[in-house]
């Protein structure tokens, strides 16, 4: 006899699951109709196919929206009979973190991605005009793939997707607790597992939507590039693709930086960037998309570099899919601190990647002879030539990062099972990428001074004298007065740091000069220069913050273990015990742990730590401030995260 369960709310789950299936199914005719619209010779026939495709897409978009709202309803109403709510949320969570619960799980973040595709797709149906059919066919196909991740049904004994609306009792059929009809009344079901404390941070509310918006945007230039190959209008897609690619780069870049801000606050690796595989996986597509934008501009003004533009936009989306595979297949388990866990969808993710990669690359190879390119070679004194070089440098960076990030993939190759990431991953990446940064910084400052096609000899150097001279003076000044003397990795690396310092200052100064000398101060035309100044500032900021990073909370007393000493270039005694009320010397400061407070219902403890800068214990402090670090403290152990919050706040 079937048990009648009491107290469940089954309707939201049924609605959600139903519409997840509707979204998946509706995206199939949308794809097919749009594809037929591309193939149809007759204008009227093509038009009617296109309209059909459009309606299919609208239905799928509306369904995705319903699924999205339903899942949020379940989480926000604490319906813990649903596994998703049970696993990712709890009653004590503040309202704003309920959204973070939404995207903590794989299903929720797929849904978020799918949601942005839907929004962007609907906008595109209004704005793409003659490119609608091929572009939307590609996006609809992506929605078929994404939709399949959320349906959670069996097709030919293969479990397709993961249903976010699954009930706890169905996921754990054997568990004794779910044999009781009244299981909802039991204590166990009263509250959920809660959100991972690392994700209980306001950046986790805003970072994933922005990042996934960036992810979703990468399909647009890809779809345009594929549309160009498909319709054999090899050059026509360039113009509409440019603003959309720029928007995507902005969103993805913002998402990455928000992730860095979150890592800085929540993770304990003491910084905003650790070359973690998950971080790399979103940085690499950004690099290739930026490269694509630059070759696109080169093509627009000179006719060169069309093939590379195709390549960069195609590879960008392929890399997005690859990074999705890396972060969601569970393959990164041993190497990353924050990859998703395996849901058994690796196969499906690989298929998703293949569906887009193989036809796109195949078309590019097949039509590569037909893609127009000028007979005449570009001049070494032309802007397009150096844009091309710069894009290749970005590609080199992308290849190196991908190569090292993919170690868990290489492990699957017989004979390489024991391969592990470098034991010092940060330095491993830094020592290579610093050269990339140097070249990019210099090119960023230089290229705008070159003219398209050809530049009269001698004029460039004259214009560059001032910014070069100024940058050199500024670099020397910063080195001398800012005491940049990072020697942890020897003098060779320090020289590279000096070079990068110069390159990033030159990127800023060069572009600043160009706004006045090249553009005569017309700010409306200065978008690129301003973006480049920003890029230069990022390089400069990264450089200074990493080379000047200093841990203050070194424990100089303690037990000498003589193991991690100077010559092993590791100082592991980074934690200092702060007894309450007793000033302890920490770098130039005397630090006193004044007290802490916590409140019922708030898992955090708040600390008061006073800093006084003075040469010795008795002297009059020259500087005084108080920091209020907080930490999630485990009630059972009562352990405090001692000096760690302080040292993070004080790293620079």
């Amino acid at each position: 006899m079937e048990t009648k369960f009491v107290g469940e709310h089954l309707l939201p789950g049924q609605i959600g699951h139903l519409f997840a299936i509707v979204a998946f199914v509706a995206s199939i005719p949308a794809t097919v109709s749009y594809a037929c619209a591309v193939r149809a010779k007759d204008v009227a026939v093509s038009d009617s196919w296109r309209k059909l495709g459009r309606w299919g897409y609208y239905v799928q978009s509306a369904s995705v929206l319903v699924v999205f709202c339903t899942l949020y309803y379940i989480i926000s109403n604490h319906l813990f009979e649903y596994k998703y709510a049970f696993q990712h949320s709890s009653r004590s969570l503040p309202m704003n973190y309920l959204l973070a619960c939404f995207w903590e799980g794989q299903e929720g973040s797929f849904l978020l991605w799918s949601f942005w595709h839907s929004v962007l797709g609907v906008i595109l149906t209004f704005t793409t005009k003659k490119w609608e059919a091929p572009v939307m066919a590609v996006i609809s196909l992506a929605q078929v793939c994404l939709g399949s991740m959320l349906i959670g049904i069996y097709i030919l004994n293969y479990h397709v997707g993961s249903d976010p609306f699954i009930l706890m009792r169905l996921e754990n059929v054997g568990a004794p607790i779910f044999q009781s009809a009244n299981y909802m009344q039991m204590d166990f079901m009263k509250d959920g597992n809660g959100l991972n404390i690392l994700l209980q941070n306001y950046w986790m509310v805003i970072h994933p939507p922005v990042l996934f918006m960036g992810f979703a945007c990468t399909i647009i230039p890809f779809a345009y590039a594929v549309a160009g190959l498909w319709t054999k209008d090899f050059g026509g897609w360039i113009k509409p693709a440019l603003p959309r690619a720029l928007f995507g780069t902005m969103m993805l870049g913002t998402g990455i930086m928000m992730g860095a801000a979150w890592a800085y606050e929540s993770l304990t690796f003491g910084g905003y960037w650790a070359w973690d595989p998950v971080e790399n996986a979103s940085l690499v597509p950004w690099l290739t998309m930026v490269a694509g934008i630059h070759t696109l501009l080169a093509y627009k003004s000179s006719g060169h570099a069309l093939k590379s533009t195709f390549f960069f936009f195609i590879i960008t989306f392929v890399l997005i899919l690859y990074s999705t595979f890396l972060t969601r297949s569970g393959i990164l388990g041993q190497t990353s601190v924050h990859a998703f866990t395996d849901l058994g969808m690796s196969g499906q993710l690989l298929v998703f990647m293949g569906i887009f990669t193989i036809p796109a690359i195949w078309m590019l190879i097949r039509y590569s002879k037909e893609i127009p390119s000028p007979k005449r070679e570009e001049s070494t004194y032309s802007r397009e030539f150096w844009l091309f070089v710069g894009s290749l440098v970005l590609l080199v960076a992308a290849i190196q990062i991908t190569y090292a990030t993919s170690i868990p993939v290489w492990q699957k190759i017989p004979g390489l099972e024991k391969l592990a990431p470098p034991t010092e991953p940060e330095f491993y990446y830094n020592k290579i990428q610093i050269w990339v940064a140097i070249v990019l910084g210099l090119l960023t400052g230089l290229i705008q001074f070159l003219k398209w096609k050809d530049t009269p000899r001698g004029t460039v150097l004259k214009k560059l004298l001032l910014p070069l001279g100024f940058s050199l003076v500024a670099t020397v000044a910063i080195i001398v007065f800012g005491k940049v003397d990072y020697n942890k990795y020897g003098p060779g690396f320090l020289v590279a740091i000096y070079m990068m310092l110069f390159a990033s200052i030159f990127a800023i100064v060069g572009n600043f000069t160009y706004i006045f000398s090249g553009l005569k101060g017309k700010l409306k035309a200065a978008g690129a220069s301003i973006a480049h100044i920003g890029f230069g500032m990022v390089l400069l900021g990264v450089l200074i913050s990493s080379s000047k990073m200093q841990v203050l909370s070194l424990d100089k007393a303690g037990i000498p273990d003589g193991y991690f000493n100077e010559e092993s270039k590791q100082n592991s005694r980074e934690n200092l015990m702060l007894p309450k009320g007793m000033p302890i010397q920490m770098g130039p400061y005397y630090v006193t742990y004044e007290g802490d407070s916590s409140a019922v219902g708030d898992p955090k403890s708040y600390y008061v730590v006073r800093y006084e800068r003075k040469p010795n214990r008795e002297a009059v402090p020259t500087e005084r401030f108080t920091l209020y670090p907080d930490a999630f403290t485990n009630a059972k152990g009562g352990r405090h995260d001692y000096a760690e919050p302080c040292f993070q706040a004080l790293s620079y």
Partner: protein, 132 residues
């Protein structure tokens, strides 16, 4: 030959050179046995916390000294010394990836990556990687 092709070749050469030259920087996953065969070399060792043996951490005495025992994949149990604070929820971890080196039969590690099960079933969350 076109200039762009030359540039392309130079870049490819640079790539290959960079990749080949740095391949030696890659680590390997080893067991305690291989790590003790080459004392002083950095290795990653995968294993699980031995809960039957004692864990020791006393911040009052030394905030940078945490010791525990880990059983590696081959079943060998060794004492591990970590120069840092005890990670939160350490005893709940199901798998540990340690980065460090062997010295006098003890494993000195400077980085712990641990995996913890969530309260429910086989769901796992990787957390708390900390390098020194």
């Amino acid at each position: 030959m076109k200039k762009t092709n030359i540039v392309l070749l130079v870049m490819i050469a640079a790539c290959v050179a960079a990749l080949v030259m740095t391949i030696g920087d890659f680590g390997t996953y080893e067991t305690f046995a291989t790590a003790s065969a080459k004392e002083g070399k950095m290795y990653h060792v995968v294993g699980a916390l031995d809960t039957t043996k004692e864990m020791h951490y006393d911040a009052q005495k030394d905030a940078n000294h945490f010791t525990f025992y880990m059983k590696d994949k081959s079943g060998e149990i060794r004492k591990v010394i970590y120069n840092g604070t005890r990670p939160t929820d350490f005893d709940k971890s199901t798998e540990l990836v340690l980065t460090g080196k062997m010295k006098n039969g003890e494993f000195y590690c400077n980085k712990i990556l641990m995996k913890c099960p969530s309260k429910y079933k086989d769901q796992q969350t990787a957390s708390s990687g900390r390098s020194v």
